[in-house]
Structure formats: C-alpha cells, structure tokens
Amino acid sequence: MFARRMSKVIIWLVVIAFLSSMFIFYNVASAQSSKPVLTIFTWMDPKAAPVLKNYREMAVYQTIMKKFKVDLQFIHPAMGSENEQFNIMVASRQLPDIIDWHWFAYPGGPQKAIMDNVIIKLNPYMQYAPNLKKYFDTHPDIKKMATTDDGTIYMFPFIREDKINCTFYGPMIRKDWLEKLNLTVPETVDEWYKMLLAIKKNASKLNSKMPVYPFSADYWSANPRGVFDYCSFLVGAWGIKTDFYVDKNRVKFGPLQPEFKQFMSVLQKWWKDGLIDPDLLTMNRQAIQAKIMNDQIGAWLGLLGGTMGKFLQAKKGTEFDLVGAPYPTLKKGQVAELGQRDFPINGDGMAITPKCKNVQLAVKILDWGYSKEGYLAYNFGVEGRSYVMKNGIPTYTEAILNHSKLSAMEAIAQYGRVSWSGPFVQSKYYVNQMVAMLPQQKDALKEWTKPDNSKLLPPITFTPDEAAKISNIMNTVNTYYNEMFVKLLTGKSNDMNGFVNTLKRMRIDEALKIYQTAYERFMKKK
C-alpha cells in the first residue's frame, strides 16, 4: 500500500517538475542605476582587444558618460563570429539601443535595415544633431554617400577627412630579399612573375630553415577573391575589377569581361609554379602573419599600418625591410588604373534601433563625435596624456607612438577608435603621424595613391525592392563565384565559359541592370 502511494507521489512530483520547468522564464534584471542606460552593439576590434576588455574602459566613452550623465553598456560579439551574432540578434529581435555596423553590407542595404525595423530613420531627429547637420551641409558629397537615394539619414557615419585616409592597403615586398637577389622593384605583371620565380628558386638562400612561399596576402575575408575585390591588385592591370565597377558610365561585372580570363591565367600560372602561399586559399590570417614573421613570404598584400608598420616594428634590428610596390601594369611606364581606395564613407557607422527609448539622448551622444571636442577625443584621446598641441596641430605623444609593449595603434585604442571606425571624422593627422610613421610607409603611400581609381563604383544605394532582388541574386552568385575563384586559381577548373554561363543562369544580368539604374540615380542625386 505504502509503496503504491509513494510511487503515485513520485509520479506526480515528476510531472509537476517537468511542467513547471517549461514555464520558467529568465528575467535578466538590468543593473539599476539612476542614470539613463544606452546599450551599444559594437565589434571588438583586434587592435583594441589587447588593451581593453570592454569599450566602457575607453577614454572617449568615459568622457561621454561623464559629460552626458549616461551609462553606456557595450555588447561585444565574439571575435570572428560578428556576422553570425549580428544576424542572430536581428532575427531574434533582441536589439540594443544602438548598433555599430557595416551598413552597406547589410543584406539588402541600409534601406532594407529600416524596412526590417532594425534601425530608424534619423531625419526627424536631426535638430538634436547640429554638428553632423553642419558637416553634411558643408560637405554635400559626403552627405550623398552617407544617405540613401531618397535622402534618408540612417546612421552616424564614419567619415574619412582626407584622400590620404582612404588608401591604406597594397603590395609590399621584402626589400632585403630584392637586394640579395639583385632585383629591382617590379612594375609590370611579367616582372612580378620573374621576381616571384626568383624568390622561389633561391628559397634556400633566403631562408635555410623553413619553406618559402613567394606571394601571399594579409586580409580579413574568408576567400582570396575578397583581396582582389578590395585592392584590384594584378586585375587592375587590365583595367577591370573582380567585382562591379564603372566603365564610361556603364556598370560592369569583372568575371563577364574577356580580360578576366587573362588575369585568371596569370594567377593560375603563379599557382602552378608554386608561387602562391597555400594558406591564401583559406585566408588563414594568423598562419599568414606567422609566416611573414618567420621570413617565409617574399611579397604580399597588406595594410599600411596593420601589416607593414607592424612587421617593421616587430623585426626591428634584423635585416628585414619592406618596400611598397606600385600596382603592376601590362606595359612598363604605365600607371595602373585601379588600386585600393576606399570612399570617405565606407558604410561603417552607428545607427539607432526602434528599441531605443531615449532617441534624443542617443542622437546627442553620437552627434558629439562630429564636434571639435569629439574630433579630438575620438582621434587623439586626452590632451597631455595621449596628445599635445603643436603649432595648432594635435600631435600624439611619445607614450603612444613609442610604447614599450604595444604598437601605436594598440596604444591609442585605450583612448579612442581612430584606428578602425566610429561616429566621427577620422583625422588626416592620424594618417601622417601614425599610419605612415616610417619612411617606408610614406613611400608606399606615394605609390599606392597613384592609380586614379575613376572606375570604382561609388557607394550607391538601392530601393527596398531592388535590394531584395539584388541580395537574392548576389548571395547565390557570390557563393558560387567564391568557389569558382579558388577552382580557377588552382587550375581545378578551366571552364571559363561554363563559369560565365552559370553566372548568367543565376541572373547576373538582372543584377547588372539594377546596378545601372541605381548608379544613374546616384549620379543625379544632389
């Protein structure tokens, strides 16, 4: 009897426990504070990671919190999976108040982000943003790029002050190796090939301990195609790009051009002769940087500060020396038509979400970045500590430029976001003083700014309908193209016609039409 009753009790307990476990809702109690709280989703930049756990610690945000009597809470996605976490955040509607993102890269563009109710239209709030408004009024070209075609303001954009802020990536070569092999800096596609071949042949002379790979790239995408999209190295010699570009007011797509074949065959030859680092295929940045460090790479594409500066500093006192090479051309004496050049607006910026209860405050805080005070704080940090005024020019202190343990960019990350992006105008003095500190960097910058880049497609925006169609088509196309790029590069496939036909079946022509329409609209825009 007792056992039966006990078993009944136990069964009931199990049932109750089970059902109640289903109805537990987690209530995340936010820290009670008297100040208004704003939550900001922003990625942790690799340059900030060594010095900060959270952007709250950054001097510029400490200043904002004091000045505006607000509590800022930062949400940092795990490094390396920012995209996934952004998408999950958007899909689950767990939005913070402010999102810091690459809005041009939002599937369907910024218009779509507004339609999806991820961010809000800022035009009605511009009265609270006098500084940005003033900047837009005095720089109509910037305003054109930072707004959608119907004039919607959707973000507090990252703005680059000057042309020299827009070029910071390109080809660099081990100068000491060139000297060892009695070579000059290559200028044409053929000379590049000869140089890489010479490095390959004399590998044991250059590095007796480890295998040498003549060519690689230090870049942050998952696919080698991204590098060529970004800086048009090699492909620019034929006057085309690997993605969309403009030729005489017509938007074109690189792979559909006959010249693409010639570019690909050169790359294939490089691969076949073992001139390309196999890690380039997976764009394993860590592995590639380790190889550069171990003297295993002869020439590579990389950042002016983050690669060139970094390794010149790290290898100080050794033979290691670098030279910035010009973008290769077909004939000697030409200047390449295309190189890396970003637009003053690159799509990075902070936007406000519909979840934000205190839009006015958020706008005020973000707008402060465009004031004189904000300019100094974001770019230079704290006067007397990270910078001093010399002849009216803010100048970084020795403590920043020659930090005992950190690179200059890591050191300044404790103060502001100048070395990546944010809602402010990036100073040209930053480039002069920090990005191109060394003579090698200054020379490289001279070479890399030579291409006129008139064929670059400006940052056009799409209507929501266009954007939906474009993202539909281009997602499929890009996945396929990424794969084919690697296959064509490694010679696993040589079927250029099949490649073009598949692109056509994936409706690339329709995408081109939409691009053309959007481009014409952009050019007419005031």
Binding site: D116, N117, T282, I473, T479, E483
Partner: protein, 315 residues
C-alpha cells in the same frame, strides 16, 4: 501495458473508464505528450514562412504570401547547388552505411572470440570511450592532426612517403574519407555493444552442436553467431536507412570550409548559410521543408521494408 483504445467502435464512456482505471499510466504519458506538443508541434506553425516572403519586422503572420516562389528559386536559379547538396547528403550517408555499418558488427564478432575476460572488457571500454567526446573536441583533434603541418603529415614525411604535405582539410577529395573514418573511430565500440548483447543471448547448445559437427572457431562465428544476431542487424539497418537524409550538422559545419563545399556542403549546412548567415529565412525554411519531405518518404519506405522482413512496423 494500457489496453488499446479504439475510440471509433467504443463510446466515450469506455475511454473515460479507461482513463480512470489507468490514471497513473496516463499521468506518466503526459510529460512526453506535452514535450512533443510544445517543442515539436507548436513550432511547426512557423513552417509557413517557406511560402511567404518573411521579414522579421513584419512577423510570421504579417509577411506576404508568395506561394512556391522560394522553391522555384531553389530549383531553378540555384540549380547549381540543388544536386550538389542532395548528392553530398546522400553520399556521406551511403559511405557511412557501406563502411560504418558493418564495422561494429565485425568488431563485435572479433571481440566475442577473445576468451580472456579482463582483456576483453578493457578492450571494450577503450573502444567505446571516444563516443563520449563531444563533436567539437573530435573535430578540433581532426583539424590539428590533418593540418598541413599536423601529425599525419609529419608521420608521412618522416617515413619518406611524402615530400610535399597534403592539405587534407582543403582538398574536397579528402573530406568524405576523413568524415566517415573519424565517425567509425568514434562510434565503433559504442555501436558494437548492442551486437555483443545479442551474441550473449545465443543458445550455447547451438555452439556445442556445431562443435560436434566439426565446425572450427571461424565456422562457428559464420554459421552460428552471425545468423543469431541477424534480426538485430536487420532492424538496426532499417532504422539507419530512415535517417539517410540526415547528416549531423555540427560535424560537417565544423569540418568544412569554402574549399571543400564541393563534397562537404550538405542540406543542413546550406540551409544554415542561406537562412541564418544570409538572412533569407524563407528560402532556408523552404529547403528545410523539402528535406523533411524526402526524409518522410524514406521513413515510409523503411517502414514498408520492415513490414516485409521483420513483421514489426511503426504503422
């Protein structure tokens, strides 16, 4: 067991009486039913987004219907991928069935021949240990071992078999062998347990009879042990067939990269990339639904087979 209810023939009173009589049994059933209802049936309401142009802003109900548009997109415009992901899904399973299914059976037969019980038990324990290691750790080990400068390449190099290291993880040709091989290594011991249990149920008199007829150890294994566990093998095989369109998402996702999509990209990973990474939720749902349909067909087929061979069936 509760008596079977046939509510068509007998009235509600019968049902009520049964409910009363077997109150506790129904009570025990309740959590399971609730679980399935809450976690498997309610979410099905979201499947409708496969036929809509879903945006999170408008919500499931607010998004406009587009009919079979998303399916058309998949089969017409993305036809390049359709056959590839279906082929990869099925092939990974087929290889797994061809190589992975017999392996634990053979292992169990071999283990059965070992007479020293301490040795046998130790061997068994060691062999099923890997089953308890999580997929993430296993794949981490695989990536380390098979990298260009990993253990495997080092060994092959020092033995003089290779001059240039093989990039195992970026060669589409290597993906399937590594995937299936590591799967066998991980699950061999665990899957052999059920066969060992079946073997221990075989009547010892059969072995004695075989011995008198002059059968050696090998013949005994072939003519007594194997037929003895055949029903178990058939049932497990049919169950395995039912999941031919399912590949463990995590393992593929952790192991593949754009260079091996050609052989590694399966339906579930494609749905993940399209649906979550590219935010095309409707498209992802449509492809997932299509996958479920094929799965359903396989289950029906497996059930028919099982009716034919084993007299036990789901319906």
């Amino acid at each position: 067991m509760a008596r079977q209810i046939n509510s068509k023939k007998q009235g509600q009173s019968e049902l009520l009486r049964d409910l009363k009589r077997n109150k506790n049994l129904y009570l025990m059933l309740l959590p399971i039913v609730a679980y399935y209802f809450i976690f498997h049936y309610i979410p099905m309401y979201g499947v409708q987004i496969a036929f809509k142009d879903f945006t999170p802003a408008k919500g499931i109900l607010g998004s406009p219907w587009v009919g079979l548009e998303k399916f058309r997109e998949f089969f017409v415009y993305d036809s390049y991928y359709v056959w590839r992901i279906i082929r990869n899904t099925i092939l990974l399973n087929v290889y797994d069935i061809i190589f992975g299914f017999p392996a634990p059976i053979i292992f169990a037969l071999l283990l059965n021949e070992i007479k020293n019980s301490v040795y046998k038990r130790t061997l068994q324990t060691i062999s099923y240990m890997p089953h308890f290691i999580s997929t993430v750790v296993i794949v981490g080990i695989i990536l380390d071992f098979f990298s260009r400068d990993g253990l495997i390449n080092q060994i092959l190099k020092s033995l003089g078999i290779l001059s240039e290291p093989i990039s195992f993880m970026t060669e589409p040709g290597w993906f399937r062998p590594i995937y299936v091989g590591s799967g066998i290594w991980q699950q061999l011991g665990w899957n052999s347990i059920i066969y060992l249990a079946a073997i221990s149920n075989i009547d010892p008199q059969l072995y004695e009879a075989a011995l008198i007829d002059g059968a050696g150890r090998f013949k005994q294994a072939i003519y007594v042990t194997l037929p003895g566990i055949l029903p178990t093998i058939v049932i497990l095989f049919i169950l395995r067939m039912g999941s031919i369109m399912n590949v463990g998402f995590e393992k593929v996702y952790l192991m593949y990269n754009p260079l091996t999509y050609e052989t590694a990209d399966v339906i579930s990973t494609y749905v993940y990339r399209k649906g979550l990474l590219e935010m095309d939720y409707s498209y992802g749902a449509a492809v997932g639904l299509f996958n479920s349909l094929i799965n359903f067909m396989f289950v029906v087929m497996a059930n028919q087979l099982s009716k034919k061979f084993t007299e036990t069936s789901l319906w």
